[in-house]
């Protein structure tokens, strides 16, 4: 219905009026000596080039390869992940949740945008946006279908709403057909979405 003007979803772009607003704020804070603009550059560089879902993928690949590590990750994810040097902001208190034949795990933050930065980097826009936050807890199967994931009807779904300071990493099931692969190669099967629960690990043929 062309006259049924529903809300136009806001997408950021270079013409955004936010540009001037943010520039002004940075100018004010810099002129007052409250911030160091080079620190902003360093923060941005960290999350553009250093901290991202490859961290989490390596954790998952190790858990797939090493049962002792998997056990440690289950018992004390913060320490197990720290042992791989993935630490810090929005990863201070980690919990790993393992998909199984019975249960699929899905992580959301209905109240804001809590997300395990230290292992997944910054959250994608959809994770922070109202459709995912509103629907993941009430209609997870409908949400998963929008990601192209169709779970068996009998598979249990556990949704983790990140309401406190614990941050959740989903450990997807290891796909068949990757026997004997190195951790590095296995990490290539672990997508970001599979560690949020909106995806599954890739099949070896698709990696």
């Amino acid at each position: 219905m062309p006259h049924d003007h529903d809300h136009d979803h806001h997408h950021d772009n270079d013409l955004d009026p936010m540009d001037a607003r943010v520039r002004a704020l940075e100018t004010i804070l810099t002129q007052k000596g409250l911030i160091d603009p080079a620190a902003i550059d360093a923060i941005v560089d960290t999350y553009e080039t250093k901290v991202g879902p490859r961290n989490g993928a390596r954790v998952v690949a190790r858990a797939w390869s090493d049962p002792d590590y998997a056990e440690w990750l289950k018992r004390d994810a913060t320490a197990a992940i720290e042992s791989m040097s993935y630490t810090g902001r929005q990863g201070e208190h980690m919990q790993a949740v393992f998909n199984s034949d019975d249960t699929h795990n899905l992580v959301v933050c209905t109240l804001c945008s809590c997300y395990p930065w230290s292992v997944l980097g910054l959250p994608p826009v959809w994770y922070k946006a109202p459709p995912y936050r509103s629907r993941a807890v009430i209609d997870p199967r409908g949400v998963l279908e929008e990601f192209g994931v169709k779970l068996p009807t009998e598979k249990k779904i556990r949704v983790w709403d990140s309401t406190a300071e614990l941050r959740y990493l989903v450990v997807p099931q290891r796909p068949a057909g990757a026997e004997g692969w190195s951790e590095d190669k296995l990490a290539g099967l672990v997508t970001r979405d599979s560690m949020i629960g909106t995806g599954l690990a890739l099949e070896p043929g698709a990696a």
Binding site: D6, H9, H10, N13, D14, D16, M18, D19, V22, R23, L25, T27, I28, L29, K32, L34, I35, D36, A39, I40, I43, V44, T46, Y47, E48, V51, T87, G88, R89, Q90, G91, E92, H93, T110, L111, C112, L122, P124, V125, W126, P130, P131, S134, R135, V137, I138, D139, P140, E146, F147, K156, I157, R158, V159, D161, S162, T163, A164, E165, L166
Partner: protein
């Protein structure tokens, strides 16, 4: 508060629309917004709970039609003015006109790696022992605070089971309002989907939240 951020179970918000090959940032201003928020937070004048409340305490139309970094910037402007670092004149002129108090610290570029790598842990010792154990049946409190809380509306007054006793954590409901950290035990509480949404809910669904001890009563 029963605010616009409390979205669990709300309908009519449209499809999720995941983006293929999404970049980390969609515009340069988003990079600066992230960095500014972290740098300003590093001054140490407010905590993460006050900061979350500054973002969520908005008119629903404003909240729901703003992108997330836009909400961050609006929240940051509010925090900076509240704490005296930025004045209305500064913002009106887009440059530093008025003075500002001395911050506790200024994050320098050289310290960024260490600061990001250490983060800001919120676990705290709690003087009392945990009231609940794994397996205990509980009912969540029903309340309607006008301030910050981390108990979503959909999970109020609901019966669930303690799945895990976590650690003591800073209590956001007081910490957001300058009323102290008052650490409490935090528990992972699991609910059957039908307890939350009613009998028509997906029978395979369970939902968990992480709940501070004062959100819970024995059932």
């Amino acid at each position: 508060m029963n605010g616009p951020h409390d979205l669990g179970g709300q309908m009519g918000l449209g499809p999720v629309a995941p983006e293929q090959h999404e970049p980390v940032f969609h515009a340069d201003w988003e990079k600066r917004a992230l960095g500014l928020t972290l740098c300003a937070g590093a001054m140490g004048s407010w905590n993460i709970d006050e900061s979350r409340h500054a973002r969520e305490n908005r008119h629903p139309v404003d909240y729901l039609s703003s992108s997330y970094y836009e909400i961050w910037i609006k929240g940051l402007e509010r925090l900076l003015t509240r704490h005296g670092f930025v004045s209305e004149r500064d913002l009106a002129e887009g440059r530093a006109v008025d003075g500002a108090p001395q911050p506790k610290r200024v994050l320098k570029a050289a310290d960024v790696p260490a600061v990001l790598a250490s983060g800001g842990p919120c676990d705290r010792p709690v003087a009392t022992s945990a009231r609940f154990r794994a397996g205990d049946r509980i009912v969540t409190r029903n309340f309607s605070p006008t301030g910050h809380t981390r108990l979503p509306r959909y999970a109020r007054g609901k019966h669930g089971v303690i799945e895990a006793v976590r650690e003591g954590f800073v209590f956001p409901d007081s910490n957001a309002h300058g009323q102290g950290e008052n650490p409490q035990w935090v528990y992972t509480v699991v609910f059957d989907g039908r307890q939350i949404w009613g009998d028509d809910a997906d029978p395979t669904l369970t939902v968990s939240i992480d709940a501070w001890e004062s959100y819970l009563e024995p059932a």
